[in-house]
Symmetry: C4
Subunit: 123 residues, 4 copies
């Protein structure tokens, strides 16, 4: 199935610097770009990261295999460099074939989890 | 009233494995696809579920009657098989007539509820 | 300024039955349709409410004056009848001129607030 | 990279009047319009703020430099006048070149954070 678009933007980006669950990957504070490739060919994605006071970083490159979803943790990107924590950023995804991108953040700086999500902007 | 589209995607999917309210259906952790069929004929929906490391599952089939909404709990799908908990997934909805789909998660692993929602991606 | 669309859908609807802040309008559990009329004429809106197991209710009628926003609490609609609490529903907004609709829920059944929001579906 | 649109709307607006973290900018209650200018020229943005019972305020003017994101805190706007707290509002963004806008609120009136986000409405 061929569904989605090739250009996606998440204008909100912020990886909380702390977490009350630093040793539990499920519950530690994180920010995720959930990508679905419903097509029958692997998709190459180039991610460009923008900041408020310095030039953009990237491209970060990820592959989403055919008929797979990848829930990409932005805090696990490390090539060319990790995204700094407690820093405002935004991200642009350029895909080699149509995909769908949804943005989620889990914040566990407090004893109670906070969650937010949105379908990203596409064109 | 004929409103909506026939193809919808929720790229984020994750059913929390735990809950502090396992016996209260309102408060137990769940993930919902809220579907509105505002039309005057029943709509048949085929749901395909994608994972990060295995082939897609489905189709799951649901019917939304004419002039009704169905708040479908993803964790209650069981044919051909339940969606595993604590597992990244994504879902594609193919409808026989226009509908609208909104995605919501309630997470009650902690004493405090966390909520998130978004209009799904459509085309 | 003339901005927006005339048909909007919120497929997710659920007014939590309880609240730890029943006497504080700001903090009691509620569900809101935030409507912006940026135009220079008043806009009449007809709201149709759909359920999972009974015929739709409405139209509920509201007016959003020119150059005003109305943050409409769904739990305060009462003509032709209040929307029942703890009940799945969905809503369709038909406007006489372009508006923008955003959906928000505040849930205060627990000591900690939970929030969610999304731009509604439009066409 | 030239991505986005020139007209954006956030129909939901409400800056919580209180916070348990009044001295920590990261955790005090706030509402943010995250703006990405991925283009190679600075973008001028005029923001118009609408209320439920008075004429609109603005334009507030902000500049987002080329290849930068600005996570604009609505509660820090002060020219022509601050946006009142505990007050329903909505906002329209008119940009001199394409940008992307995402809306986020962090509410820390309670001991636990609550978060919500959505891609704004654009045309």
């Amino acid at each position: 199935m061929n569904v989605g678009r090739r250009l996606w933007v998440i204008a909100e980006g912020y990886i909380p610097g702390g977490s009350l669950h630093p040793d539990d990957r499920r519950l530690m504070s994180h920010e995720t770009a959930c990508i679905l490739n419903a097509g029958d060919e692997d998709v190459e994605i180039s991610i460009f990261v923008y900041f408020s006071d310095s030039e953009p970083a990237g491209p970060y490159r990820v592959t989403v295999p055919a008929r797979r979803t990848k829930h990409l943790r932005m805090n696990e990107l490390d090539d060319p460099a990790p995204i700094p924590r407690d820093t405002d950023y935004a991200s642009v995804f350029v895909a080699s074939a149509p995909v769908v991108v949804q943005h989620t953040r889990l914040d566990s700086r407090d004893p109670a989890l906070a969650l937010m999500t949105t379908t990203a902007y596409s064109e």
